[in-house]
Symmetry: C2
Subunit: 228 residues, 2 copies
């Protein structure tokens, strides 16, 4: 039995956490079957077995693993086919890239879709989300998202290091998708499912890469229910 605990909105079929998407995609990369279990922000109780306060959490036949990066390492150690990293150097480099992606991509997208996210939650979760996220942002959700047009150009510019990889190969991890592709794509799926913002220009090499990522696994990510 393998269960992936994923964040959901008021519509429990909308699974929108960028971190959960990373894990879902890496399970698919490995060809591992799993039961997705939807929980809201406030449904913390199922996470206790993993000693976690946040999703994703994986229950792999009784072995509980938390944190999308640690789950990636666990999956690569436990299921060695179709490696996500392949050696210790790639893993160590991925620690730096993971931190950079979380700062640049996740925290870059967050204020541009934060009011949209709020709109997809039930009343109790919406109140919790507003309180915690407005404290974090130092302004209202609507004020943060209200300036997204100004935020878009610097956000796009900040992704330049990823474009350097796409000058060489179709995938960020080389000639086949790897950890870096899934870690980068997760935040884009988050925005796609919850907002109508167009994060990437059509001429951007990352736009074509994102389409290739949506095509993976028989287009199953593209087929997921959106909140918009």
């Amino acid at each position: 039995m393998r269960q992936l605990y994923e964040l959901c909105g008021e519509n429990r079929d909308v699974r929108f956490s960028p971190y959960c998407w990373r894990t879902r995609l890496m399970l698919q990369h490995k060809g591992l079957e799993f039961d997705p279990v939807a929980i809201t922000f406030l449904e913390k109780q199922p996470l206790e077995s993993a000693g976690s306060r946040t999703v994703p959490v994986l229950n792999d036949n009784g072995t509980w693993v938390k944190d999308s990066f640690d789950i990636a390492l666990y999956l690569d150690d436990t299921y060695t086919d179709k490696p996500l990293f392949g050696n210790a150097t790639a893993r160590a480099q991925a620690v730096v890239l993971n931190d950079w992606l979380n700062r640049t991509l996740v925290l870059g997208i967050f204020p541009m879709i934060v009011a949209d996210l709020h709109g997809h939650l039930d009343a109790k979760n919406a109140a919790y989300f507003r309180e915690t996220r407005e404290k974090f942002l130092g302004c209202t959700l609507e004020d943060a998202q209200g300036t997204r047009a100004e935020k878009l150009a610097p956000f796009r510019a900040s992704l330049a290091p990823l474009r350097a990889a796409l000058k060489q190969d179709d995938w960020l991890a080389g000639d086949a998708p790897g950890w870096l592709d899934y870690a980068t794509f997760g935040p884009f799926v988050w925005a796609h499912l919850t907002s109508d913002i167009d994060l990437l220009d059509k001429d951007d090499s990352l736009h074509a890469w994102r389409e290739r990522m949506f095509d993976l696994f028989d287009g199953s990510t593209r087929a997921m229910p959106r909140a918009v």
Copy 2:
């Protein structure tokens, strides 16, 4: 015969290019003997054999290779002992990290030491440097460096992804120095040799890592002549 063409100042023993340092360190990592050949900004002629306008350029027994990143790939393909990457995934990830390091670290340090750099050049090179770099910066060298106190805090903050790696290991590339360590250390050597600015706080995990890097290869980098 193996020659590394390196940038020098008016004092030709001062070898200060961040990119050349990356190559010098990787040659040392591989245990490969080489003759360092000093050239100034204006001595472009020796670079023609490699079809390059910039240092570093490596002449490896008649095989000419340019660009510090391409030289790293060449060295790892040609001399497979003591790998810098180890697999294709680490190489692909390094393309992203290399671009990020050049933007964040090299371009972050550059305006903070640019007037110092100018001061270490002979008259002709200094005039060339001022003209080209002031065009690039959009201000005088002195104005750029004049606000370095304000630039230091955001520069230090921008290095956070590197600190994530040092929470796990002594080296950025894992349990031994690798490409990522040399690619990151090169720009710090550049600043160390040419400026008295203290780029890192003493409590910063990167400060202790930088000391470990200076200790490598019998402390030979620490022993290099400084312009200051």
